[in-house]
């Protein structure tokens, strides 16, 4: 058989495709990232705000430091995800292992896993065809929003009826300064806005899409929150919905925060028609409330929360590639193989796999990257360009010889700033020995020229006057390094944003300002010193904590790539909570799957399993951890060296204190009901009442447990299948059968399961009478109290995190108030933890389905692989250093560091800032009252010299 390719093709450059590409590229695979549009970013780059924590970004774009909120106090804002996303666009665009191919599509894929021949067609080049060889393929072609035009009763033809996406653009375009929203028809401020949920979702009558799109509830709530923030309490916001589905991690808290604001209503209703008053442009919404009363209400604007669907082009692509789709045109997957398509070697992630929000898309993308990479693991690194750097030139003692390269950035800078005069001016500045101007300084040709000029003119400092270090710094630093100049001898003057963009209407002043900025940068360049990056070896071992489905999947994913894994399990056997479960809602046998996993884990010689294991101690940092583990009850101690850690400690079912649980044996949890159905069947059951949200969405546990609605629906269908005459009632607050699970909710209703809604304030009551159990509830449809006599009451008990207080303390891992581990970024880094080299997966992160746990476990393995694939890690030389002789140990740095890096070393009796852990944010340097901390590359004189240069001008 032919040797496998070391390249992967990723189709679709949205948030999922980008994540998959980055994971693979950082694991030393060559990536072809193909998108049919001219740019990368996908749907996400069109949204002004991607999620509830993104609210802040509207207010303060510069607030982002990449750190996740650390406490409940800062919830739900504090970090701006858009800034992070634009960083990611840069990471993809500038990555040397990622080849971005835009305006192109896949015509065909021939061959098989390891050796696919992909035929691409380029639409920008007269539909020219080209061939690329890859070993595996990831499809992440995303979705489109549902077009509501065909549903005329929704009034989309009227100017003041807009879709959610259009509404977000309106908010974004709203009047600068005041930020007030104007409606399309007459540019007046709306007084009342209505949101219509489930447009094109959960609708088999007219919309045609029976599934739940999973994202519209949250985005509607986010829109309410954004618009309320701008327009204040006078604006009336009404969200017409069937159920509010805020099932994601912490989403319920966000919903509660928005729900209780003045002038915000969430109404259970069905929409009849939306019609326009042609005089005023206002809209009349005719709807039916829960009790069946038809009502009319007038709104200034209506937002249609349109769902997601698969574009025709994706369906055709799947057909061409021979990939099976389901009845909604999502790619058909197995619950135990969530990112695997029907064609070996082709993986699937993001919305093409099923409707989902950003974190799940990003997670699946990493999971797909893991499997796509594993397929061709023997060829890892083979397709990469080898870059060898010459030995570093010693510049110590040399007078600064500065080269200034001024960029036109096409017309981006050159269209406003007089670049030639800036270049001329630069040549008059002290220490400048060479200047140049370029159309695109970041192009390959210009960078080659910079290299030549460095050598020819013996430059020892380089100033690039273009954009920012964040944007292109890494690229130019590499250019310096490639000709032997230390990469930290680079300075960038941001004349694009600071001059050309903000003063586009005043070219003369923009040019003058560009000169000022260049003068400042030249002054700084003269003060730069070479810095050495710390290089640390990576221990190619992984430690996985928790031997449930997530932990075992993570272990296998790494073991199959040849990395050594130690898998710790606190119990005597592997399997975790899944051992208590029977079948998935799709009917898959969970216990058989667990047994299969266990034997696969045991058979893999790369995986060492330690059961009855306890973590006693832990030290070290990314690439070099040492964890002390005690096995069994005795003193069998192990010191495990590992480069990465994956936390998969799992969760359990909440043990209810409510509804006579534990007092009456006829009151069961859903898990216990499953057991009972397996053991005894349902022939003896006349009626069952299921009560939802027990131990969830209440004061004690504010969040939604995500999976209990589907557990109830699963068991309800099971009972109905076993005994169609049994009466099954589900008492619920909102049914949250998100995504494709909605089909099962529909099936349950079709089979005669009765769903009765109740409010948080008026929960059902359970009484024990001489005739048996009686449940009292107020039926909102019938508008009267019901009493239901029943044989069994089943409590849909929520998900509670396993007790990890000890592990979290020893390993310094952040957990939220519910005890679930905290990810580095809720949307864009859902499996990374804040500590580098540590990842989280499964229910340790939050409640989730088995299929979601598996995807997250594979994702964690993928993220871990980006570390393990490397022999060494190079750490940024931008770190803080403390002058311990003058430090007064006031602890201000210890308390101010968002990453908890500075510590008081009791042995040395001084403050210590670890070079390996420091993130280089500079906060400690700025707060130190004795000014004893300096941040390399941003030392005091390297900053103040710029101010002096500015004032001297």
């Amino acid at each position: 058989m032919a040797k496998k390719s070391g390249s992967v093709m990723v189709v679709g450059a949205g948030v999922a495709g980008m994540q998959a590409s980055l994971d693979l590229a950082n694991s030393d695979y060559n990536v072809y990232l193909v998108d049919k549009s001219p740019t990368i970013g996908g749907m996400m780059s069109r949204l002004p705000c991607i999620g509830f924590r993104g609210v802040e970004c509207q207010r303060n774009m510069s607030a982002d430091n990449g750190a996740a909120p650390r406490s409940e106090d800062s919830f739900p804002t504090n970090d701006c995800a858009m800034c992070m996303f634009s960083h990611r666009l840069n990471d993809v665009g500038g990555h040397k292992n990622i080849n971005v191919i835009t305006t192109s599509e896949i015509r065909n894929i021939e061959g098989e896993l390891g050796n696919f021949d992909v035929t691409l067609v380029d639409y920008s080049d007269d539909e020219k065809e080209s061939k690329v060889q890859v070993g595996s393929v990831i499809l992440s072609s995303g979705s489109q929003t549902f077009d509501p035009s065909a549903l005329d009763f929704l009034g989309y033809q009227y100017p003041n009826v807009v879709t959610g996406e259009e509404f977000e653009r309106l908010i974004n375009e709203s009047e600068p300064g005041t930020g007030r929203l104007m409606r399309p028809s007459d540019k007046q401020e709306p007084k009342k806005i209505a949101w219509m949920q489930c447009v094109g979702s959960r609708d088999i009558n007219r919309g045609g899409n029976g599934y739940c799109s999973s994202v519209c509830c949250l985005y509607a709530i986010k829109e309410v929150s954004l618009v309320k923030e701008r327009m204040g309490a006078d604006l009336d916001c009404a969200v017409f919905n069937m159920d509010i589905r805020t099932f994601g991690k912490d989403y319920e808290k966000f919903y509660n925060n928005v729900r209780c604001q003045d002038g915000v209503r969430f109404m259970k209703a069905r929409i009849h028609t939306i019609s326009e008053d042609p005089e005023t442009g206002d809209l009349n919404v005719r709807y039916m409330d829960e009790a069946g009363t038809v009502l009319d209400e007038t709104f200034s604007m209506v937002v249609l929360s349109t769902g997601l669907e698969i574009p025709k082009a994706s369906v055709e692509l799947a057909n061409r590639l021979g990939i099976e789709l389901n009845h909604y045109n999502f790619v058909k997957t197995d619950p135990f193989q969530p990112v695997q398509s029907s064609r070996p070697g082709i993986y699937i992630c993001g919305l093409f796999q099923g409707p989902k929000d950003i974190p799940e898309s990003v997670t699946e993308a990493s999971a797909a990257a893991c499997l796509a990479g594993t397929d061709i693991v023997e060829s890892r690194g083979d397709d990469l360009e080898k870059v060898e750097f010459p030995e570093e030139i010693d510049v110590s003692g040399q007078e600064p010889r500065i080269g200034v390269f001024v960029c036109n950035c096409g017309v981006n800078i050159g269209g406003v700033v007089d670049v030639n005069s800036v270049q001329e001016y630069a040549s008059t500045l002290p220490n400048v020995v060479f200047t140049d101007s370029n159309l695109f300084t970041c192009s390959d040709e210009t960078r080659d020229r910079i290299k030549e000029m460095i050598i020819e003119h013996k430059l020892n400092r380089v100033v690039v006057a273009s954009c920012t270090l964040e944007n292109r710094g890494e690229m130019f630093m590499e250019t310096l390094a490639s000709c032997g100049l230390n990469k930290y001898l680079l300075e960038m003057a941001n004349i694009r944003n600071q001059a050309a963009w903000v003063h586009a209407n005043a070219p003369d002043m923009a040019t003058q300002k560009a000169k000022d900025i260049v003068r400042m940068s030249v002054a700084r360049a003269a003060n730069l010193n070479p810095l050495q990056e710390k290089i640390i070896p990576v221990s190619k071992h992984a430690l996985i904590i928790g031997g449930g489905i997530a932990g075992m999947n993570a272990a296998l994913s790494l073991g199959k790539q040849g990395f050594d894994v130690v898998l710790l399990e606190k119990d005597a056997q592997l399997g975790g909570f899944a051992r208590k479960l029977h079948h998935t809602i799709e009917g898959k046998d969970i216990r058989a799957y667990v047994e299969e996993l266990v034997s696969e884990v045991n058979a893999n010689d790369k995986i060492q399993v330690m059961t009855e294991a306890r973590i006693i101690g832990s030290k070290g940092f990314q690439g070099n951890f040492v964890t002390q583990v005690a096995v069994g009850s005795g003193d069998d101690m192990h010191n495990i060296e590992h480069g990465v850690t994956i936390v998969a400690t799992g969760a359990s079912e909440y043990q209810p204190k409510e509804f006579l649980y534990g007092e009456d044996e006829r009151v069961l949890t859903q898990v216990e009901l499953s057991d009972r159905l397996e053991e005894k069947g349902a022939s003896d059951i006349e009626s069952v009442v299921m009560i939802q949200c027990v131990g969830s969405r209440n004061e004690e546990h504010e969040n939604c447990s995500r999976i209990c609605c589907q557990s109830a629906v699963k068991n309800a269908i099971h009972i109905k299948k076993l005994n169609p005459d049994a009466r099954v009632y589900v008492l619920y607050r909102d049914i949250r059968t998100y995504g494709l699970l909605e089909d099962y909710y529909t099936e349950a209703r079709r089979r005669g399961v009765i769903f009765i809604r109740f409010d948080r304030e008026t929960p059902p009551e359970l009484k024990k009478t001489s005739e048996g159990l009686v449940v009292k509830i107020k039926d909102p449809v019938l508008q009267r109290e019901l009493e239901i006599s029943t044989d069994l009451v089943t409590l849909s008990a929520g998900v509670v995190a396993n007790d990890t207080a000890e592990i979290s303390r020893i390993m310094k891992l952040d957990r939220d108030s519910e005890g679930f581990f905290t990810e580095a970024h809720i949307k864009l880094r859902p499996v990374d933890m804040l500590n580098e080299g540590i990842f989280v997966c499964g229910t340790a992160h939050g409640p989730k389905l088995i299929s979601e746990s598996i995807a997250q476990a594979q994702a964690a393995a993928s993220r871990a692989t980006t570390f393990l694939a490397k022999d060494v890690i190079r750490l940024s030389a931008v770190t803080a250093k403390v002058d311990t002789d003058h430090c007064v140990k006031c602890l201000t740095c210890v308390r101010s560091c968002p990453f908890d890096v500075p510590v008081f070393n009791e042995e040395e009796n001084c403050i210590e800032i670890s070079e390996t852990l420091c993130q280089g944010c500079g906060i400690c340097a700025s707060v130190c009252p004795r000014q004893t901390i300096q941040l390399s590359f941003y030392e005091d004189n390297q900053v103040t010299c710029k101010i002096d240069a500015l004032l001297a001008g």
Binding site: H886, V888, C890, L891, T892, R895, S896, V927, C928, P929, R930, Q931
Partner: protein, 223 residues
């Protein structure tokens, strides 16, 4: 730790209005730790003064020098060589430091830039709370480690008084009643007998500056 707070800027500016060349002396110990008078605050204050005086067309030449501790003469020595160049000294140390500086350079006007606030604890960055009035006769042993002199508005040795109000003090419901806390803590420790006897009042009259000489040490002859 001694906690201080910088004086209002206008007050500092006013004190220095007749001087053109001033040395601002920081202190690297307590006031640095409480973010009132270390290197950073010296720099910040100097920059503010520089700007304000320039705007008034009355420029000031102001330099900074932060010593390890202004209450130790060995550390003040470092200033001897430079003090003569200046018309006046500004001190960002606590009241003790200011006086020690003034004592060392009796010919120079010395001005305080901070108000010395109290002896306290650091609750978090920038957040300090008073805990001790340095009364010279500590009763913490019998009061469960809660100082009635500092924490009780009346500084009572026998309490609580009639103003105790469900755990709060009569002066303010956010102010806890010290004697209530003392009672609770001692009750929890089973040590209520500690406060059963009436303690005679402290003689607060005729307070004179106190001196401490640790056992085994004596006052140096020269001092």
């Amino acid at each position: 730790m001694i906690v201080a707070k910088r004086k209002p800027f206008d007050e500092i500016k006013d004190m220095l209005k007749g001087y053109k060349k001033v040395l601002n002396v920081g202190c690297g110990t307590c006031v640095a730790v409480c973010l009132a008078g270390g290197e950073k605050e010296v720099d910040v204050l100097n920059a503010e003064l520089d700007m304000a005086r320039r705007l008034e067309d009355n420029p000031i030449e102001i330099s900074g020098f932060t010593v390890e501790r202004q209450c130790d003469r060995e550390y003040l020595e470092a200033l001897d060589a430079v003090v003569d160049e200046y018309e006046a000294l500004l001190s960002m140390a606590c009241g003790a430091g200011v006086q020690f500086l003034a004592e060392r350079y009796p010919k120079k006007p010395v001005f305080p830039a901070v108000n010395t606030s109290f002896i306290g604890v650091n609750q978090d960055v920038g957040w300090y709370e008073e805990r001790c009035r340095s009364c010279s006769s500590c009763v913490l042993g019998m009061t469960g480690g809660i100082c009635p002199v500092t924490m009780c508005a009346k500084g009572l040795y026998n309490g609580p008084c009639g103003g105790t109000n469900n755990g709060s003090c009569e002066i303010n419901k956010d102010q806890p009643c010290a004697w209530y806390m003392i009672y609770e803590r001692l009750a929890a420790q089973g040590r209520l007998d500690c406060i059963m006897d009436v303690v005679p009042p402290q003689d607060w009259r005729n307070q004179t500056p106190r001196t401490v000489i640790q056992p085994g040490y004596k006052k140096p002859e020269a001092a």
